[in-house]
Symmetry: C2
Subunit: 131 residues, 2 copies
DNA sequence: GTAGGTGCAAAAGTTTTGCAGGCTG
DNA sequence: CAGCCTGCAAAACTTTTGCACCTAC
């Protein structure tokens, strides 16, 4: 699991990874903080931010840059798409087969070197649909 | 131009619209503020934010929720996709034909009511490529 | 004249960082 | 036992908002 030999598996980091793997809700850093405090009351928000950042840099988890004001995190590092509720901001997975062909198409139309793509759907979730 | 009869075309609003239409760089609110101050030194950042918000709510301009920490704005309200530089954050248009079919596909796979989609490419821009 | 808009400044929300001490490997 | 990591708090950064005055219509 340690991609980088300098990474230490502290109690905090382990707990963050463990809890993130439990949820399917694509939590924000503060969501994680609230969850983690139940099991480790003295954990600090700074530690949560630092670890989510480090874990996503090493590729152990994924940082989601979906719309909205906060970043979200996902323990599922496979390429997959998301739907975001325009009203409440909730994010869910959408298991549409990733279309890698669009990257080739895009490469023809730009002088940027294409690395990857993100496809995000915006919609209204069942809860918000019924007011 | 006035979609909403209550909207007034103040000097500030007019200037914001005029300058946004001139650039093709998808500026952030602060980028706009820097541009606008050259022609109207006393304009306030709050006014820039308020107007960009109002203009995008009425559909006169478009608010882009691309990755990164700041929102960006675009006077081109047509559906089109973007490439963002992973290094410097620059955003450029990518005139790939919009694929409305994916929304139908997505609708089959979720209980969210799909409203629209966003496709964003992440890459490295020519300037950053040559360090 | 009136109600929407402005500038200014303070506040709010999110994320980052400096520091002194703690713990992992 | 070196140096990565933590908790805490302050700071940084982005965006929103309250207020008194202003101005487009």
């Amino acid at each position: 699991m340690n991609v980088n030999p300098k990474l230490r598996m502290t109690k905090q980091r382990q707990l963050i990874l463990e809890e993130l793997r439990k949820v399917k809700t694509h939590p924000t850093a503060d969501d994680m903080y609230q969850i983690l405090r139940k099991r480790m009351p003295k954990i600090s928000l700074g530690t949560v931010y630092r670890n989510l950042e480090i874990l996503s840099e090493t590729g152990i988890i994924q940082k989601l840059e979906v719309g909205g004001t906060q970043k979200r995190f996902d323990a599922d590092t496979s390429t997959h798409y998301h739907v975001r509720c325009a009203i409440c901001g909730r994010v869910a997975d959408l298991h549409l087969a990733p279309d890698m062909n669009v990257e080739k198409e895009a490469a023809k139309l730009t002088d940027f070197q294409i690395l990857r793509h993100r496809l995000e759907f915006i919609g209204i979730c069942p809860e918000c649909k019924e007011h």
